[in-house]
């Protein structure tokens, strides 16, 4: 298959200046590709670098400390890591949009939601205001907000959490982006509202053909949504594959641990001990040499503690970075 990816990361390295000595590396040598219409889920726990990956793609890293320290971010072949700020402003919200976990902090509380959506359209497409408001109304309808004509003139605080997330999605999709980055879009929502939002994202994706990177810690959301899965731990990609490959045969001990640690409905394992992953994710400035997961891994050997395992193919599109995961490499 030779279809060109819409978005590709090649060896992305995101780092933060520390004031003393070397910068800490939050995302290390991360590569991925994303095709049209595809959903890639990035999975991992707090501090694994998944949100910083999204912020790196959009060049929204906190200044002045955060920066892309290496690698390329290719949007249809063009390297965004080298783009100017003015060029990035043209790309954000138009070619690539993002939705965040907490819509209340991402929406402007003193502007009506209609105005906020219309403004995005105005900036990127230069239509007149009436046309922009028309698009805003159309978007509210598309994300299935009831009584869109009335909601257009309301403020964010007048909406429920689920409706606010719909508004965020309407705003993100208003200029028909080719890539949508969704950072824990349903984590703050109730499970019935989460189901509505996930259904909506899926439907809109089918309509618009946008590619989606969905960042989540919830393997259930991954099982529902993903075409492909990328597992991150402490800033590294530790496993990648199709959603079936990952759920049928998780190869990295961290992925296996995550799957076994999560109680899920109908498992029939009532009150059995859940699989714990001992300890916590290491701090950015205290990453061990060798495999970052070694201190928490039951299979770790001396080699794991000294030498970083490379990503190794496991057949198909499946790959993992683990000395014990049994790749073809000796």
């Amino acid at each position: 298959m030779t279809e060109q990816p819409i978005l590709a990361l090649e060896g992305l390295r995101t780092e933060f200046a520390t004031g003393q000595g070397a910068p800490v590396v939050a995302v290390n040598d991360l590569s991925l590709t994303l095709k049209r219409g595809e959903t890639l889920c990035i999975v991992g726990e707090s501090g694994c670098g998944k949100s910083l990956t999204a912020l790196s793609i959009l060049r929204l890293l906190p200044r002045p400390y955060g920066r892309i320290g290496g690698g390329r971010v290719l949007l249809e072949g063009r390297d965004l890591a080298q783009a100017t700020d003015a060029e990035m402003r043209q790309i954000r919200g138009r070619a690539i949009s993002m939705i965040f976990q907490e819509p209340m902090t991402s929406l402007n509380p003193v502007l009506t939601i209609g105005r906020q959506i219309a403004e995005t359209v105005m900036v990127h497409e230069g239509l007149d205001w009436t046309a922009c408001m028309g698009r805003a109304l159309e978007m509210l309808r598309q994300v299935r907000i009831p009584e869109p004509e009335r909601r257009l003139h309301e403020y964010p605080h007048q909406l429920s959490g689920g409706m606010r997330q719909r508004v965020m999605i309407a705003m993100a999709l208003a200029c028909r982006p080719r890539v949508l980055l969704a950072d824990e879009p349903t984590t703050a929502l109730d499970v019935t509202i989460q189901a509505q939002i996930l259904d909506l994202v899926r439907d809109l994706q089918a309509e618009t053909g946008a590619a989606v990177i969905l960042i989540t810690h919830d393997l259930g959301v991954v099982a529902e949504m993903a075409d492909r899965v990328l597992v991150m731990y402490a800033g590294h990609k530790v496993e990648e594959g199709s959603v079936e490959e990952i759920f049928d045969a998780p190869a990295h001990p961290y992925t296996q641990g995550l799957m076994q640690a999560m109680p899920h409905l109908g498992s029939g394992e009532h009150r059995s001990r859940l699989n714990e992953i001992a300890g916590v994710v290491p701090a950015l400035n205290a990453r061990p040499p060798g495999c970052s997961f070694a201190p928490r891994c039951g299979l770790a050997t001396d080699r794991c503690r000294q030498e970083m395992p490379p990503l190794t193919g496991l057949g198909g599109t499946h790959m993992a970075a683990c000395w014990a995961a049994g790749g073809s490499q000796a």
Binding site: E45, S46, P146, S160, G161, G162, M163, D190, V191, T192, I193, Q194, A195, Q196, L198, D199, H217, D218, L219, G220, V221, A223, E224, A226, V243, E244, F247, G257, L258, A261, M262, P263, H264, L265, G266, S267, E269, H270, R271, R273, L274, N275, E276, I277, A278, V280, V281
Partner: protein
């Protein structure tokens, strides 16, 4: 105390909050956060209390502890009605009934060391000499899996999971018979959440603790609970032994809630029963059955008459005109 006596019994618990137009205005409307909730918890039992935001599940926990004053109803702790106790009486009873919050960081004094935080309840109740107290603190630290040297650390020096362990150690210090957990693992990462759930189950087996486990994560609740109650807009709509509730849910809301939970394997992807719209406001709950506005099977009766919560002989109770499988007692 007989063996069959519940540790905690709640009857007709009501909590209404007044909405005042200004600082001195008269309450113009009532938020009916909890509107007639009854349940009991046996020794060594975990009752899971689930529902979506705003259903009143956390308020039930707080009203049971009398951290908010119930508007009406009765709470019985180990056979004693605690609803009318004065402040001093209530403080004494809190030895038997402790609480763990979702975010222990905001409930632990940031200027006290971890050791002092766990020792404080022992000092307040004058239990043991200073030496004995320190021994007890050391034992509690070991029991919840914290290192002895961490006693001199401050809360901000702990990770989220460790802070929750610290909250548990403090709750255990006085030897309670029941612990109310208000979303105790919701803020934790999956791997750490598993550690805390395992710890809570171990402590229950070891000390015969009862838990009222308030949570929104149905997977976690299924794992830890013996019985489960489902709340919607201030009322319990279904309460049943765990297996019955998860395998044969009767209330349409319980069905929808379970159906909304993400699958655990991509091959199980399916079309869901998706509820339309949002939960109505608890200021003006719908008449009749509160769920009728979103219910896929509602009939005219549901709009007019509120269905009572009726139990069948197995203890499976449902508040639904169409689905209750019991006759009125």
């Amino acid at each position: 105390m007989s063996a069959s006596q519940p540790v905690l019994a709640v009857e007709g618990l009501v909590k209404h909050y007044g909405i005042r137009p200004g600082l001195f205005g008269r309450a113009r409307a009532q938020v009916r956060a909890v509107d007639g909730v009854s349940f009991s918890i046996a020794p060594g039992e975990t009752l899971g209390l689930v529902g979506e935001s705003g259903c009143g599940k956390s308020t039930v926990g707080k009203a049971v502890l009398r951290l908010v004053e119930p508007t009406a109803g009765r709470v019985t702790l180990e056979g004693e009605d605690i609803t009318a106790l004065n402040r001093a009486g209530m403080i004494a009873r809190r030895r038997r009934m402790q609480v763990i919050f979702q975010d222990p960081y905001s409930s632990l004094n940031p200027r006290m060391t971890a050791g002092d935080i766990v020792q404080e309840p022992l000092i307040n109740f004058g239990i043991g000499s200073a030496g004995e107290q320190r021994e007890r603190v050391a034992a509690l630290f070991a029991r919840v899996g914290l290192r002895p040297d961490q006693r001199s650390n401050y809360p901000h020096e702990f990770s989220g999971g460790q802070r929750q362990r610290l909250g548990i150690a403090r709750a255990l210090a006085l030897g309670p018979s029941i612990i109310i957990g208000d979303e105790p693992v919701s803020a934790l990462d999956v791997s750490v959440q598993a550690q805390v759930i395992n710890l809570m189950m171990d402590l229950q087996d070891e000390f015969g603790l009862s838990y009222l486990f308030v949570a929104h994560d149905l997977g976690v609740v299924e794992h830890i609970s013996h019985r489960v109650a489902v709340m919607y807009l201030g009322k319990i709509v279904e309460i049943a032994p765990r297996a019955a509730l998860f395998e044969e849910p009767r209330h349409p809301y319980t069905e929808a809630l379970l159906s909304a939970v993400p699958v655990s394997h991509p091959r199980q992807r399916r079309k869901r029963v998706t509820l339309k719209g949002d939960v109505p406001s608890p200021v003006n709950p719908p008449p009749g059955c509160r769920f009728h506005t979103r219910c896929p099977i509602a009939v005219p009766l549901c709009r007019e008459v509120e269905p009572p919560l009726l139990a069948d002989p197995s203890g499976h109770a449902t508040a639904c005109h169409l689905r209750s499988q019991a006759s009125p007692a």
